[in-house]
């Protein structure tokens, strides 16, 4: 029996950011007050786990207050699943304690690596989609899942390059991976669109190949036009072509919990609520049609 609200994850959620807490301490905390005191109608919040790795402190205190009223999901980059380093069990141990403390509905990381040789880049770096990488990636997920005692979700990142030595497409890699590792998926629609434009593939072909039964969550965010490429800034409203692709994804997958991510130039909370409402309307439309 959970100590917290047992509301299941459904509909449109919002990515919770520590900046909201820090603003509170410096006296500009409209957003945290919004979340903790006004309890806005948000279906759930997604937490960036790597910001709560300390054993105590104020961030965890604030998160406990949020958890009193909302279901949570966990999202991180620190597993470094594609790395050729050994798994960082120090990190996994801290993550496991955090999971026990907050009881998230699920835990996700990325189809990428963030560290090698003990150096952390804190950024999602792609890798060539090869058999070698597939075996390594699957093996590491299996070990992580065993250690955490639960399945994890893997999310497709935005990529800004492709490797000459790939043996398969990203979507073929993803499909093989979920089978081999028995993991689940978080599909970032913005990332599919950004990667498709940057690397010249058809986003619809990617979406058609997604194993629908494995998808637990969708991400939406706003990219930035950089001239020669698109950059996954997470600093804008969701762009029109991404909304369009989102509708196509929903038609493929059925109603799926969807999260609005916003990391840079974080706007008024009302803007986040508007974006979430748009996603919710798409999910509702689908449910009404069913």
């Amino acid at each position: 029996m959970s100590r917290f609200t047992e509301a299941p994850i459904g509909g449109a959620g919002i990515g919770l950011r520590t900046k909201h807490y820090q603003d509170v301490l410096s006296g500009q905390g409209a957003q945290l007050q919004e979340v903790i005191e006004n309890r806005p109608p948000v279906a759930w919040f997604e937490v960036l786990t790597d910001n709560y790795l300390g054993t105590g402190g104020l961030p965890r205190h604030h998160l406990h207050q949020v958890r009193e009223n909302y279901p949570l999901t966990f999202h991180g980059v620190g597993m470094s699943l594609g790395s050729t380093d050994p798994l960082d069990y120090g990190y996994l141990t801290r993550l496991k304690a955090l999971i026990e403390d907050f009881e998230p509905a699920w835990v996700s990381d990325h189809l990428a690596w963030v560290s090698v040789g003990g150096r952390y880049l804190h950024d999602l770096i792609p890798f060539p989609y090869t058999r070698e990488a597939l075996d390594l990636f699957a093996q590491r997920i299996i070990e992580v899942q065993e250690f955490l005692g639960r399945r994890i979700l893997v999310e497709n990142p935005s990529t800004y390059l492709s490797f000459t030595n790939c043996e398969m497409s990203e979507w073929a890699f993803v499909k093989a991976l979920v089978e081999q590792a028995d993991c689940e998926l978080l599909i970032d629609v913005n990332n599919i669109y950004v990667s498709a434009v940057n690397n010249g593939f058809d986003p619809l072909e990617y979406v058609r190949a997604i194993p629908a039964e494995r998808v637990r969550e969708i991400h939406l965010a706003g990219y930035e036009e950089m001239g020669q490429y698109l950059f996954d800034t997470h600093g804008y409203r969701v762009r029109p072509p991404v909304w369009e692709l989102y509708r196509f994804v929903l038609d493929q997958l059925g109603p799926t919990p969807t999260l609005i991510e916003w990391d840079n130039d974080i706007p008024d909370f009302s803007v986040l609520l508007e974006e979430a409402a748009k996603a919710q309307a798409e999910i509702d439309r689908l449910e009404a049609a069913a």
Partner: protein
Amino acid sequence: MSSLRHIQALFCESIFEDQSGSAVNELSRYITPRPGLSPQDHVKIYRRSVLAKLAEALSEIYPVCLKLVGEAFFSAMAHTFVRQTPSRSPDLGEYGHDFGDFIEGFEPAATLPYLPDVARLEWAWHRVYHAEAAEPLDPESLARVPADQQGRIRFHLAPSSRLLKSIYPVHRIWQVNQTEYDGDGRVDLDDGGIRLLVWRQGFDMHINPLDEGTWYVLKSCRDGNDFATVCENLEQRAPNADISAILPELVERGWISSFSL
């Protein structure tokens, strides 16, 4: 070495390497060029993103330093630091502890001699903010220690506390540069040195200036000395201070939160 490991090592080198670009040039043969973007350009997108993320982490930990030198200067200083200082932990909150030491050797910042200590104060604040809260020390358990063992007691500072000393009034510099501060903005650098404790009481952050006696007791405890040695140190450093008055106050305030024998 596996080809994947080789590519990852090259990628990491490419992020931090200097102008020579030898790693990125080798990495380039694994990367598909696109119209208008060479393989090197592709890697540059990641290089910029990684370095900006690390520099951004510094600007969040060191907002007063940023305010003192301005955005452009801070960004240049942070990028210099970041290029020579890879992160070694998945927790970005552990990154940048030696930024103060770096600033001390950073030539362009030499005109602001107090800046390294302001940075050290901000680091202390940052770590205290994230530290575990401690239960207060139970005075009764202390009273139960037999008299002949008291000299062997080692007192421990609360994990949510940090000591800091400067020849500049850095607590004043810190204070007048807080967003919500609206008092007198002048700081006299000749106010002299300061000994500080940054600490947290429950969920409230504090910076307290310390008198000499309190400072030496806390410092000596922090350095792992037993109580007899702490008293000796105090006798030498601050002969007028009275340990029998200082110690109960430290316990009362929660600055000392546990002891061991």
